[in-house]
C-alpha cells in the first residue's frame, strides 16, 4: 500500500512539477502564442556580378526596412568591395553601391527576413475619406504611367465607384482581375492595360492605382519580391490604397484582396524601378532566397536553447515534427486505448498514418487508405486460401498496394482529380503493414471485429492528425521541453490506472441489471 502511494506521489510530482516550471517561465517571460509559433523566415541575398567597369560605376536598388509586418536583419557585408550609400525618402530606403577603381566585382548584399501575413477587413459601406494629409496628396495625381485623369480611365472609374470604400475597392479589384494576364514582365502603363484589356502584373497594378486615383482615393504601387526557396530575377508589383491612415494592399494578380501574405518582401512604394546602374557596364544579378523556419521575433533575446535546433538550416521543421510530436501522438493513442478503449492495429501505426497525412488532403488520403486496405485484405483472404507462406504473401501485398496506387493515380490523372499526385505520397510500407494487420484480425477473428478495428485505427489516426499538423505545438515543446517529463509522469499514472475503459462501461452494462 505504502509502495503504491509512494509510486503515485513520485509519478504525480513528475507530472506536476514541470507544469509548475512551465507556469513560472510563462509568467516571467509572457510568451504570446505568436512568439511560440515557428515562423517562416528567409535569408535573401542580392547578388550582383559587374564587369567591364569604368573608373566610377554604381548600382542602385532598394533595401528593405523593418515595419509592423516584416522584420529585417542585415548580414554584415564583406570588407573591401563596393561602397554603400543609403538615403531614405518617401519611396523607401535607397541604396547605392559605388565601385572604387575595380574592373570586375562580384558583390553580395544579404539580409534575413521574417514576415507575417497582413489582412484588413474593410468596412463595406463606410464613406470614402474626403480629407487627406498633405503627405498623401501626391498619390492622387495623374502620372505618365498612371493616367488617372485620362477620360477613358475616368469613365471606367466613375462606373466602378460605389457608396463606401469597401464596395468601391471590391469593384475595382473585380474589374482589374477580369483583365487577361499576359504573363510577361513587360512594362505596361494603366491606359494601355485598359485599352488592351490585358496586362502584366505591373500593368494590372498601375490600372488599379489609376482607377483609385480617378475616384479620389490616394493609391500607389508597391514593389518587392515574393520570397520562396529559389534563385530568381523577377520582382513583383502590387497596389496600395490609402484609407483612414493605413495603406491597404491589393495584389490582383495573386488574388490578395486587402491582404498581403507573410512571404512578401516589401522594398519600395511608388512607381520606381528596383534596380538602376551605370549604363554600358557588364551586369548580371539574381536574388538568392533560402527558406527556413525559425523565430526572429522581438523575443529573440529570450529564446530558449532548443530553438537553435530550428534555426539550424539542416534540421527541417518536418524532421522536428516527427521527432517532437511523435511522443505526443503516442501519448494521445495511449489515452485513447487505455482510457477510452479503442482498439487499433498496433500502437504506433495510427501515429505513422497520421504523420503521413500532414501536407496531404486528409479526407482524400484517409479515403484512399481505407479503399486500399480493403482491396488488399480481400487479396490477403484469397492468398490465404491458396496457402502461401507468410513472407512471399506479404511482398505480394506490398506489390498490390503499389499497383492499386498506380491505378488510382492513373485514374486520377485521366479524370483530372484535384491533386491526384498526392496519392503517391501515401506511405507504402505503412499501408502494407496495416493491410497485413487488418487481414490477420480478419482471419483470426471475424469480419465485424476487423472492420471495427480498421475504423478505430483510422479514427485514432484522424485524432492524431491535429497533433502533427500543429506548428504551435512544436514551438511550445521547443520552449518548454520539460513538458516531456510531465508526459512521462502522466504515462506512469496511466500505466497503473485500473479504472474501467469507457467502452467497457458499455460492454459490461448488462451486469448492472443483475445488481
Amino acid at each position: 500500500m505504502l509502495r503504491r502511494n509512494a509510486y503515485g506521489i513520485v509519478a504525480g510530482m513528475l507530472l506536476m512539477i514541470p507544469l509548475l516550471l512551465v507556469l513560472i517561465k510563462q509568467v516571467q517571460q509572457r510568451y504570446s502564442w505568436q512568439d511560440l509559433l515557428p515562423k517562416e523566415a528567409y535569408s535573401v541575398s542580392y547578388e550582383f556580378d559587374m564587369f567591364h567597369l569604368p573608373e566610377q560605376a554604381y548600382v542602385e536598388s532598394y533595401l528593405p526596412v523593418s515595419n509592423n509586418r516584416q522584420r529585417i536583419q542585415t548580414v554584415p557585408a564583406e570588407e573591401g568591395q563596393l561602397v554603400l550609400h543609403t538615403t531614405q525618402d518617401e519611396t523607401g530606403l535607397r541604396a547605392r553601391w559605388e565601385s572604387a577603381g575595380q574592373t570586375d566585382v562580384v558583390f553580395k548584399h544579404q539580409f534575413e527576413f521574417e514576415g507575417k501575413a497582413l489582412s484588413y477587413r474593410l468596412p463595406k459601406v463606410a464613406p470614402l475619406d474626403e480629407y487627406f494629409p498633405d503627405s498623401v496628396e501626391q498619390y492622387r495625381l495623374s502620372t505618365a504611367a498612371i493616367q488617372s485623369d485620362h477620360p477613358l480611365i475616368r469613365a471606367v472609374a466613375d462606373s466602378l465607384k460605389m457608396l463606401g470604400f469597401g464596395h468601391t475597392m471590391n469593384s475595382n479589384y473585380e474589374y482589374v482581375s477580369g483583365l487577361a494576364n499576359t504573363g510577361s514582365n513587360a512594362l505596361t502603363d494603366a491606359l494601355t492595360a485598359l485599352k488592351r484589356q490585358r496586362a502584366s502584373c505591373n500593368g494590372q497594378s498601375r490600372l488599379f492605382v489609376a482607377l483609385c486615383r480617378a475616384q479620389g482615393i490616394p493609391a500607389r504601387v508597391a514593389g518587392g519580391i515574393i520570397l520562396e526557396q529559389s534563385e530568381k530575377r523577377t520582382s513583383h508589383l502590387w497596389a496600395e490604397a490609402y484609407y483612414r491612415g493605413s495603406w491597404i494592399p491589393f495584389d490582383v494578380l495573386n488574388g490578395h484582396f486587402a491582404s498581403l501574405p507573410a512571404n512578401y518582401l516589401e522594398l519600395y512604394h511608388g512607381d520606381e524601378f528596383l534596380l538602376g546602374r551605370t549604363s554600358d557596364i557588364g551586369f548580371d544579378y539574381q536574388f538568392v532566397i533560402n527558406k527556413r523556419h525559425h523565430t526572429l521575433s522581438a523575443a529573440s533575446d529570450r529564446i530558449p536553447m532548443l530553438w537553435s535546433l530550428l534555426n539550424h538550416q539542416s534540421v527541417s521543421i518536418d524532421l522536428l515534427r516527427t521527432i517532437l510530436l511523435l511522443p505526443v501522438a503516442a501519448l494521445l493513442i495511449a489515452l485513447l486505448k487505455n482510457v477510452i478503449g479503442l482498439k487499433t492495429f498496433g500502437v504506433f501505426l495510427p501515429a505513422l498514418i497520421a504523420l503521413s497525412l500532414v501536407g496531404n488532403n486528409v479526407y482524400w488520403t484517409i479515403g484512399a487508405f481505407a479503399i486500399i486496405l480493403i482491396v488488399i485484405s480481400g487479396l490477403h483472404y484469397s492468398l490465404d486460401r491458396l496457402g502461401l507462406l507468410h513472407t512471399p504473401k506479404l511482398v505480394i501485398m506490398l506489390l498490390a498496394v503499389i499497383l492499386t496506387l498506380l491505378l488510382l493515380g492513373h485514374l486520377g490523372y485521366r479524370m483530372e482529380w484535384d491533386n491526384w499526385p498526392s496519392i503517391f505520397m501515401l506511405p507504402l510500407v505503412i499501408m502494407a503493414i496495416a493491410a497485413e494487420r487488418f487481414a490477420k484480425v480478419l482471419t483470426e477473428d471475424n469480419f465485424e471485429e476487423a472492420f471495427k478495428m480498421l475504423g478505430s485505427t483510422l479514427l485514432v489516426s484522424l485524432l492524431c492528425y491535429p497533433v502533427f499538423s500543429s506548428e504551435l505545438l512544436i514551438g511550445v515543446l521547443l520552449t518548454f521541453p520539460e513538458l516531456y517529463l510531465s508526459m512521462i509522469g502522466l504515462l506512469l499514472l496511466l500505466g497503473r490506472w485500473i479504472g474501467l475503459r469507457i467502452v467497457e462501461h458499455f460492454r459490461f452494462s448488462p451486469l448492472t441489471l443483475s445488481n
Binding site: G387, W497, L500, L511, N515
Partner: protein, 295 residues
Amino acid sequence: MLKRLFSSPTPAGGALGINERNLRYVYARNDKNAFPYADDKILCKEALDAAGIACASTYGIIERIGDIPRVWQSLQHYERLAVKPAKGSGGGGIIILKKDSEGRWCSGGRVLSDEQIFSHLAQLLMGMYSFGTSDRVLVEQCIIPHSFFHEIYPAGVPDFRVILLDQKPAMGMLRLPTARSNGKANLHQGGLGIGINMEAGTLAYAYDGQAYHTVHPDSQQQILDKKIPYWEELLELSIQTAEAFPELGYLGVDIVLDQELGPLIMEINVRPGLGIQLANRASLKQPLQTISANY
C-alpha cells in the same frame, strides 16, 4: 485527486476491466517465462502429461517436414485424428480427420489423399497459421462431445472455461456453438456463453451478446439449472492444472467433456477474456478478491 485516480469506479456492475485484470492479475501473478505453455499446445501437453493430468492422448508430434511420412504411417491405425498447429490461435489450421467406411481419410465430408494431407501438414510446419514463425504439429485424439451437450445443441465442440487465482476456481463458463457462430464456441464469434453456478454445478443463463436466455436459441432446449455431469471432477482437474503451472497464478483452463473419458484439459490461457463476466452476469472482482483475502 490521486486517490480517486487509483481507486476504480464502480459503474457497469463493478466489472473487472482489462486495465485492472492486466495490472493486478496477469502481470502481477504470472511469470512471463511460463507464457510459452499457454502459447504452445505441445509444451502445454507435455507438462500436463508429466503431471498426470487428463487430456486428449497425443498420437504424434511432427517437428520437421522430413518426419511427415514416418509419423503419418504411425497414425494409420486410428479412426479419428485432430491435427493442430502447436502455436496456432483462434482455431486456424485445425483439421479433424475421420476414416470413412472404406478406410479413406476424410475431413468435413471430403475425401483427402495422402498428398493433400502431407501438404496441409507441411503448411502447418512452415507457420501458415502461426504468423510467420515455423511451427510444430500436434496430432491427438479426437474428442467426442458428451451426450450432455447433444441434448442442448448437437453440433460443434463445446468447452468449459474455468478461471483460477492461486489454484482456486473463481468463475466458470460453458461456451456453446450456435447456428450463427458457425461451429465455433467463442463468445464474440457468435457463440453462447453460459454462466455456471459453481457451488451447485448447474448452468445458469445463456448470453448471446445481446440478451440472456434460459433455453438454447436454436434448439429451444432448457439450459437454466441443468446439472453439469462430472462437475466435481472438472473442477478438480482445473485445480490440478493450475497446480501443474505454479508460475501462473492467474489462468484460464479450457476443458472439454468427452463421451467416454469425461473431462479433459484442452489448453490453458494466461490472459483469459473478460466476457466470462457477461456470461455469469457477475463481476470477477468479488470472487478474485475473496480468494486473495483468504489466501
